[in-house]
Amino acid sequence: MLFLHFYCENKSFSRSRKYTNTGRSRCFLAMDTIHACFKEKIGEVLLPGDVFSFRLSESGDGSIKTEKIICGPGLRRNGEEVQVCKSGILRHKQPNMYWIDSQQRRYVPAKGESVIGIVTAKSGDIFKVDVGGSEQASLSYLAFEGATKRNRPNVQVGDLVYGQFTIANKDMEPELVCIDSCGRANGMGVFGADGLLFKVSLGLVRRLLAPQSEIIKDLEKIFPFELVVGMNGRVWVKAKTVQQTLIVTNLLETCENMTSQQRQTLFKRVAEGFL
């Protein structure tokens, strides 16, 4: 899952705006040239302030063809224009999704994303969890599998939790849960008895979580290890010995700025040196 949050501002436009389950918003803009405007710039580096403006095409018979465009992170709608608000590369996914792929270190909570949090406080019915954003998230003690009022989960201050955001917008305090919609844990909850937690940039995390991640495939060949990746840039690693854990940590931190060839040669060297 490459990206899960969308900004799409709708300013008193006559078109309708619809929110789907994942919290995306779509703008319905009428033009033939909309895809053409974007397509020229796919793969190019854009800066804040770059504008894609569209004009309503006056067709002879009076009918307007509507096309849906989904604007992802980094693109904002401003009336009849789409403005770029972050610097990065314009990416495209069929059929009509466009977003700016930017390198960032600071995480902004978004609904539906799975993150690693550190429990900082226990107060009454909720835990306060640090997720690396501008505010601490709250996690109810009932949001664990099999938790009831009498059967409280065993969570202490300082524990690592892997959870999903149910509420995460700019106006409210973010809320985490460690169960899915069916009430099962599905891998979420408290973890990390041993192992090492460290921080990487958000771009690397997205590359690790991509369906056919090359970095993960290359890493698997060296030695077995457990890996938990949170969308907030936090990664937890555990291998058989402390030395192996540190090797994996160093490899992940350094492979961010490398091309795939450099990465593969480095991993090969480490695998040979280790064996």
Partner: protein, 240 residues
């Protein structure tokens, strides 16, 4: 971290560095000194950059959107804090005045309503001052904000003009030229429509001279925006 003035130390492609030599424009005397910049050089801040204009050098670090003290939080927008650290001693009134200029410009460019009740902190460390200090601070701040990935509606850059006693307009003056000038004008220009976002002036000058300086600054800002674009392109060229 202070960089030496060797060319090879600057040419580091992994960090998106670009250098431009002196450029001349048409008949107007808008000569900018050699300028260069580097992004993402510090590991702790969310965004960082250095900006060098001639011998003036500034290091900028940005943290945000981060937690904010309840006394400083604004309910519908982010709080922007700017700190300028001089080379020696504690920040004084002069730094406070510059901080206000930088803060107002950043507030105009950033989309603060996307992060209410959070803070954006810009820290500028003066490394060497050889004239055009406020311009260099603003340029470094803009590059650091871009590096941090904060949402901005447009970019900004800054140009300083000095009017000498004979009435000649010099852009990007050195410390010596600033001392001998009768007026010093600094403008922050935005990238979309080349409007003036902020102006800070000292000394006496006529209305015509002001308008001339604004025109020269707007012309010179085009070079700087092109430089921003090239730097960021270079930085992302490895990721592709």
């Amino acid at each position: 971290m202070v960089r030496s003035k060797n060319n090879d130390a600057y040419m580091s492609a992994t960090r998106g560095l670009c250098m431009r030599s002196m450029m001349e424009l048409d008949q107007s005397c808008s000569n900018l000194r050699e300028y260069g910049s580097e992004q993402s050089l510090l590991s702790k801040p969310d965004g960082s950059s250095t900006f060098v204009q001639g011998d003036t050098s500034i290091l900028a670090g940005v943290y945000g959107p981060a937690e904010v003290k309840v006394s400083k939080e604004i309910y519908d927008r982010a709080t922007v804090e700017v700190l300028i650290q001089p080379k020696m001693g504690l920040p004084g009134v002069r730094e406070r005045a510059r901080e206000q200029c930088v803060r107002e410009t950043c507030e105009a460019a950033l989309l603060l309503t996307l992060h209410p009740r959070s803070s954006v902190t810009v820290i500028l460390q003066l490394i060497h001052d050889d004239g055009s200090l406020l311009s260099c601070c603003l340029n470094a701040a803009c590059m650091a904000l871009m590096d941090a990935g904060l949402p901005m509606s447009h970019l900004f850059c800054s140009v300083t003009c000095a009017i000498s006693k004979e009435g000649q307009i010099i852009t990007d003056p050195t410390a010596l030229q600033e001392k001998e000038s009768r007026a010093l004008l600094t403008f922050a220009i935005d990238s979309v429509e080349c409007n003036v976002l902020m102006s800070s002036t000292t000394g006496s000058f006529s209305v015509q001279e002001l308008q001339q300086c604004i025109a020269i600054s707007q012309k010179a800002s085009e070079q700087i925006f092109q430089f921003y674009r090239d730097s960021v392109k270079r930085r992302y060229s490895k990721i592709k």
